[in-house]
């Protein structure tokens, strides 16, 4: 636990320190973390809006957001490349926080997942800074970014690859993206409407004590350094 000057507002502290208590607030994500997250998100959305109209004509309207199909085709690989670079930075930035604890093994079983989605309290849960679901999502995103990169390079330069490789590349890109789509919709839902107070941790950087105790009791205990 870092000692901080309680005299300055939490949002100032949140520039450089996280996992610290400032008054009623706890700093969850320091500025570097938030910048990194939004770099990943921004590049993802540019790639999304330029990729989805090419994926299916059902989303052809998205092409208007980036300036048409031709522009979409041109910027998509670059946006995707930037997304991959941002994801690599994110991977190393968060890797230490995302290690699974021994008692978290099996926490992503469907039954446990359903119980979580029903907001059921499980006395044995003692979520640290990130819960097992978040960790699974983190590693899925990293793996997905790699899959999208590899298949994306094949699709970017199709003339350099034999037809079968191109077919497999397109399939891999599509399947990876579909998992991404489902994951990202869930991620956005949980981070905004479903769990109030969460979104603020990625904007202002801070959460309330109540939020921390509810969602991440283990982390709350660590940062406040006292047993609840």
């Amino acid at each position: 636990m870092t000692t901080v000057n309680d005299a300055q507002p939490a949002v100032i502290t949140a520039r450089h320190n996280d996992n610290v208590v400032v008054g009623d607030e706890i700093v969850r994500h320091r500025r570097a973390t938030r910048l990194m997250h939004w770099c990943v998100a921004l590049t993802f959305f540019i790639a999304l809006f330029s990729g989805m109209p090419i994926w299916s004509p059902l989303f052809a309207w998205m092409a208007a957001l980036v300036g048409g199909m031709n522009v979409a085709r041109i910027i998509h690989p670059y946006a995707g490349s930037l997304f991959f670079i941002a994801s690599v930075v994110q991977f190393f930035h968060w890797l230490a926080d995302m290690r699974f604890r021994d008692d978290e093994k099996g926490a992503w079983k469907p039954s446990r997942l359903m119980a979580y989605m029903r907001w059921e309290e499980n006395p044995s849960d003692d979520q640290g800074k990130f819960n097992p679901g978040q960790k699974v999502f983190f590693f899925s995103v990293c793996l997905g970014a790699l899959g999208l990169l590899v298949s994306g390079i094949i699709m970017w330069f199709p003339l350099y690859f034999p037809p079968l490789v191109r077919e497999l590349g397109i399939l891999l890109h599509d399947i990876t993206f579909i998992f991404f789509l489902v994951g990202i919709i869930t991620h956005i839902y949980l981070g905004t409407a479903a769990e109030p107070g969460t979104f603020r941790s990625m904007t202002r950087g801070t959460v309330s004590r109540r939020w921390a105790r509810l969602h991440h009791p283990g982390w709350f205990r660590d940062v406040t350094n006292k047993k609840e």
Binding site: W55, P57, W119, M155, P163, L164, E167, I170, L171, V182
Partner: protein, 288 residues
């Protein structure tokens, strides 16, 4: 894409074409008799000239062939295959160009609405206005025909001279052919001509003569008479079909993905409706 008057039967990345179905247009086809081709390349020159394609550098690869394969600005290439058949040297020439499949793999793979169209008369055409140059059509084509033009960023290929076809003229290559090995007309007529020629060849001793009109792609609007029933001798695929990867992608993976995406959104709304937000019990003190 040169035609503005032909009705469109099918259009890429679109639910349906623009065809009213009122006009009765026969499927047109080109007939190629490889057994009477003399390899003069008049068709190559005529194609370049009619389509205003610039002169393209040729390459010398130890054969008479103009270049190894079709290019974005070279749509008609006579392939010279020197090969041994039944212990005899054969010089098998074959006219390589877009086959204008009835079930075009390029159109199936194309993601840009209207970039590849199939007219009511069966001609498959690239519309550069809508083409985004992604190259999916090259992946979808079993004949490796559509080529990427690096300067324009568009795909290009033989149009079966659609601008001539729509006013009732034969394609430029057919017009130029000096031996009559090329012919043009309705698909039915060209198939009949092909069957007749195959019979002639069989009578003349070529027992394996065949008409190449591969059904794996629904038949093609280029029917080719071959002396030997081994299309691969002519650098033609024996059983061409739209690649399975393209079919799985467009007919299985993509619809499932769209459904999965919308289901997830519905599930999120349903979840919120049933369980609402996860908020801490209100009586817990802020002072904790």
């Amino acid at each position: 894409m040169a035609s503005q008057t032909l009705e469109i039967k099918r259009s890429s990345a679109s639910m349906w074409g623009t065809s009213t179905g009122i006009r009765s247009l026969p499927t047109v086809a080109k007939y190629v008799d490889t057994s009477t081709c003399i390899g003069c390349k008049a068709c190559e020159a005529a194609c370049q000239e009619w389509n205003d394609l610039k002169r393209v550098p040729t390459s010398q690869d130890g054969s008479y062939q103009t270049m190894p394969e079709l290019q974005a600005d070279f749509w008609n290439l006579i392939k010279f295959n020197e090969t041994e058949v039944d212990g005899e040297l054969n010089w098998l020439m074959r006219k390589d160009q877009c086959m204008h499949c009835a079930e075009p793999g390029c159109l199936a793979a194309c993601p840009a609405p209207g970039a590849i169209v199939q007219y009511a008369n069966g001609i498959v055409d690239v519309n550069p206005d809508s083409c985004i140059g992604c190259g999916y059509c090259a992946t979808g084509c079993p004949f490796d025909v559509p080529k990427f033009h690096a300067k324009t960023g568009k795909m290009a290929k033989c149009t079966l001279c659609v601008d001539r076809a729509e006013v009732g003229l034969e394609p430029a290559c057919v017009k130029a052919c000096p031996t009559g090995c090329l012919s043009y007309g309705s698909k039915d007529d060209m198939v009949a001509l092909g069957i007749l020629r195959v019979k002639q060849l069989k009578d003349a001793g070529f027992k394996d003569a065949m008409l190449y009109d591969p059904q794996g792609v629904g038949g093609t609007s280029v029917v080719t008479v071959l002396k030997y029933n081994r299309p691969e001798l002519y650098s033609l695929p024996a059983d061409p079909h739209v690649p399975w990867g393209v079919k799985v992608w467009k007919q299985v993976v993509r619809p499932l993905g769209v459904i999965a995406g919308f289901l997830t959104i519905f599930a999120a709304f349903g979840h919120y409706t049933k369980y609402g937000p996860k908020e801490p019990p209100s009586d817990e003190g802020r002072a904790a």
